[in-house]
């Protein structure tokens, strides 16, 4: 609070204080109200910019995720990938290790899968190939996540910069690999092995994405248990709260950092595998599509709770898919949808402030901290 008065006794009109834990229904009431408020603000913007009926726009957004069973499956697929990457970054962030390199870890993991899929392709049995691809991806993700962790643990390098720069190395490696594999220079791999489907994760019950979805569902539960009930999970939260405390109670901080980044990288690598083998059957620089960064928001919004992350990633995916739908239906640029997404997320993050803090009128008679 700014104090711009010349009077020494002047105090600001309002001050902010930390709240005690709020009853759960009150907190959810605030969250609900903030979403309604954001929708109202969005409605004003929709009308003033596009002269469309906001209710119809919202209806179209819902149709984008739930309109047909195909759209629903596609939404679940996007949700699975975003959730998987969010699960990957969560242990690292909970430990206050700023892993901004999920994008690169996913990409490098994907590249390892593609290398096998493209080069060994039809020469080994498909089951073996897929297992090898999975192993390669996980290993690739681990390498990409481990490097910055080792440097941080041994020499105290800044992990945000390190992980961020590893992204660019991964992007360039993918570009280079494509350049070698596609000598025509178009940088387009296209579907790899469309005829034999070698290295493609099979359909399950006729659903293309079901395996992806099941893997991520299991992973979500495992991660929840790992973080909440295991000794490792406890160590992660202690290191995240205070490295000194961790050291004091005998936790090997370096070991925890390295172990956790191995886990984080491995799950990123798995996401890369799911994208290459289970989804796109190709690779390009855009494989991760920015999800490596969106995942950070998903994870923080859910306060590192894997089960809550299902909801927060659903929100993000729902908004993204709705964006595409309204762009087509109303002939609008997808940027409008991005603006709406921004507003809604702004309100949601903003309401957490009001849940955690209260604004109080300064009472001049009382001394306050």
């Amino acid at each position: 609070m700014r104090n711009n008065s010349s009077k020494a006794t002047h105090e600001p009109l309002f001050h902010i204080a930390k709240r005690n834990a709020m009853v759960w229904w009150k907190a959810w009431l605030i969250r609900g109200a903030s979403i309604i408020a954001s929708l109202i603000v969005c409605a004003v913007i929709i009308v003033s910019l596009t002269h469309q009926n906001p209710l119809e726009v919202y209806g179209a957004m819902i149709k984008g995720s739930f309109g047909t069973s195909r759209k629903f499956w596609a939404m679940l697929q996007n949700l699975a990938i975003l959730l998987c990457i969010s699960l990957a970054v969560t242990p690292a962030f909970k430990m206050k290790f700023w892993n901004l390199g999920a994008e690169g870890q996913v990409l490098f993991g994907g590249l390892c899968s593609m290398m096998l899929m493209f080069m060994v392709g039809d020469r080994i049995p498909n089951v073996l190939l897929i297992i090898a691809m999975l192993a390669a991806s996980v290993l690739g993700g681990i390498i990409w996540g481990l490097l910055p962790a080792v440097f941080k643990a041994k020499w105290g390098t800044n992990e945000s910069l390190f992980t961020l720069m590893m992204n660019y190395i991964a992007i360039q490696l993918v570009s280079f690999a494509i350049m070698v594999w596609v000598p025509s220079g178009s940088s387009v791999m296209g579907l790899v092995n469309p005829g034999t489907k070698a290295g493609w994760l099979p359909d399950l019950f006729g659903q293309k994405y079901l395996i992806n979805i099941l893997i991520v569902a299991v992973l979500t539960v495992v991660m929840f248990v790992y973080l909440k009930y295991s000794k490792h999970g406890y160590e992660i939260s202690v290191v995240g709260e205070s490295e000194n405390t961790a050291r004091y109670i005998g936790i090997d901080v370096k070991k925890v950092i390295i172990r956790t980044m191995i886990l984080s990288g491995a799950i990123c690598g798995l996401s890369g595998f799911l994208l290459v083998s289970g989804t796109n059957h190709t690779i390009s620089k855009e494989l991760a599509g920015g999800n490596g960064f969106t995942a950070i928001m998903v994870s923080w919004l859910a306060k590192f709770n894997p089960i809550m992350m299902v909801l927060t990633s659903l929100l993000v995916v729902f908004l993204q898919r709705g964006a595409g739908e309204i762009a087509t239906k109303f002939n609008l640029n997808t940027s409008l949808a991005d603006i709406l997404t921004g507003i809604i997320i702004f309100f949601i993050i903003g309401c957490e402030f009001f849940i955690n803090y209260k604004i109080m009128r300064t009472n001049s008679g009382k001394e306050d901290k």
Binding site: I40, V44, R70, S184, T279, E286, N331
Partner: protein, 409 residues
């Protein structure tokens, strides 16, 4: 505090409701659209278009505008034309195509090179729907009856644009602004493959048709749409001494950089005169409307149409947009008319092998990679009768030779 919040909420609610109320008339054009007497042939049609980027990309906008033009011409309602933008060249292309099929589309177009294999997959899964992919290389021998490729002999348009550029460079030389040995032009390309290579080579040959001493520097951005990279690339070329810039990448980065530096610019797909009133010279453009009409007509009538189609100047697919008189050299229009006449009559061939050399030698034979089988090996003799036959054995370009006079940075 609560009071203020309550007032704000109420205000927002009222505004929101008022907005809903006032907006009902916006529905009417849609309803009106449906009741307009569309030609009975087209009433059951639904058309989908999948774009890599949105209308901010000159390339995608060119597809979108042409489709809207055809929509108006055929009297189709907004419900009959579904445009999906920002669709990546991966599984989302296949998924979008499937969603368009679910919406009842009978014919679906896709505009980006990397969409092709996903469109082929969608075609195989949905044999009753026609899938048309622009710039692709597979349809002519893929044997999928409902999968089609299309492109245009844009190299002829780029040659004409090159002639306009050549006239401008000649004017610079004649007025003493530069000497002939400084007649170096620059080109910002996206990716180094046949479509781009064929494009810049034809443009360069057009310039050399007027200024035989001209040389060209080419740089690639490795992206179809990146405003900053394209701008940087153009500035780099200008700093290297290029006196004129053209580009085959889809943002306004390069033309804007040219306007800043006062360097003449030749664009692709859109008229950039509003961005660069003092430097925009001319643009060549593929007009997709003739192809849309051909394909849509065929679907409406239940007829089959070409698996691989090449538009030309004659079909109205290759255009030179209005020359910017404020920038162009005198006599440009006359020259265009003359050269265009020669191209159309077959008197002049863009890739006439007597007009260029490759590593000092005449290109009297070349095995082009026409059949895209993943081997990237030449398979078809493309040089005969004294010229390279571009876009004749397949609509998508396959001229991928670097000719003398062009330096790739």
């Amino acid at each position: 505090m609560k009071k203020i919040l309550a007032i704000l909420m109420a205000l927002a609610l009222v505004l929101g409701l008022a907005a809903c109320g006032s907006n009902t008339p916006a529905d009417t054009p849609e309803n009106g659209g449906e009741s307009t007497p569309a030609a009975t042939d087209y009433a059951d049609l639904k058309i989908g278009l999948i774009c890599l980027h949105d209308e901010n990309s000159t390339y995608d906008n060119n597809f979108i505008l042409a489709l809207k033009e055809v929509q108006t011409e055929l009297g189709l309602s907004d419900d009959q034309v579904l445009i999906k933008t920002n669709i990546a060249e991966d599984d989302s292309c296949l998924r979008t195509a499937e969603e368009l099929v679910d919406e009842g589309c009978n014919i679906i177009f896709a505009d980006s090179f990397g969409h092709e294999t996903y469109m082929m997959q969608a075609a195989q899964e949905n044999p009753d729907v026609q899938f048309c992919h622009a710039t692709g290389t597979h349809a002519h021998n893929a044997g999928i009856p409902n999968f089609h490729n299309a492109f245009a002999s844009i190299y002829e348009g780029r040659f004409l644009a090159g002639v306009v550029a050549g006239m401008k460079v000649k004017e610079m030389i004649d007025s003493g602004k530069i000497t002939a040995d400084k007649a170096k032009i620059g080109y910002v390309g996206a990716f180094p493959y046949a479509e781009v290579k064929s494009g810049y080579t034809s443009f360069f040959l057009g310039v050399r048709y007027i200024v035989p001493e001209a040389t060209m520097e080419v740089t690639f951005t490795n992206s179809w749409f990146d405003i900053a990279l394209e701008r940087e690339a153009a500035l780099k070329l200008i700093n290297n001494g290029c006196v004129l810039i053209s580009q085959h990448a889809d943002s306004e980065g390069a033309p804007k950089a040219c306007e800043e530096k006062g360097i003449p610019n030749v664009a692709y797909n859109i008229n950039t005169a509003t961005i660069g009133p003092n430097t925009a010279l001319v643009s060549s453009r593929i007009n997709w409307a003739p192809y849309y009409k051909l394909a849509i007509d065929a679907v409406a009538k239940g007829e089959s149409f070409d698996a691989d189609w090449t538009g030309t100047i004659a079909t109205g697919s290759v255009e030179l947009l209005e020359v910017n008189e404020a920038v162009a050299a005198e006599g440009t229009d006359e020259k265009i008319a003359e050269v265009k006449g020669k191209i159309e009559s077959g008197e002049l061939h863009v890739y006439d092998i007597s007009t260029f050399t490759v590593e000092g030698k005449t290109l009297d034979s070349y095995q082009a990679d026409v059949i895209d089988d993943g081997t990237f090996q030449g398979d078809t003799e493309a040089v005969s009768d004294g010229y390279f036959h571009e876009s004749e054995y397949r609509s998508a370009p396959y001229f991928d030779v670097t000719i003398d006079g062009i330096t790739i940075l």
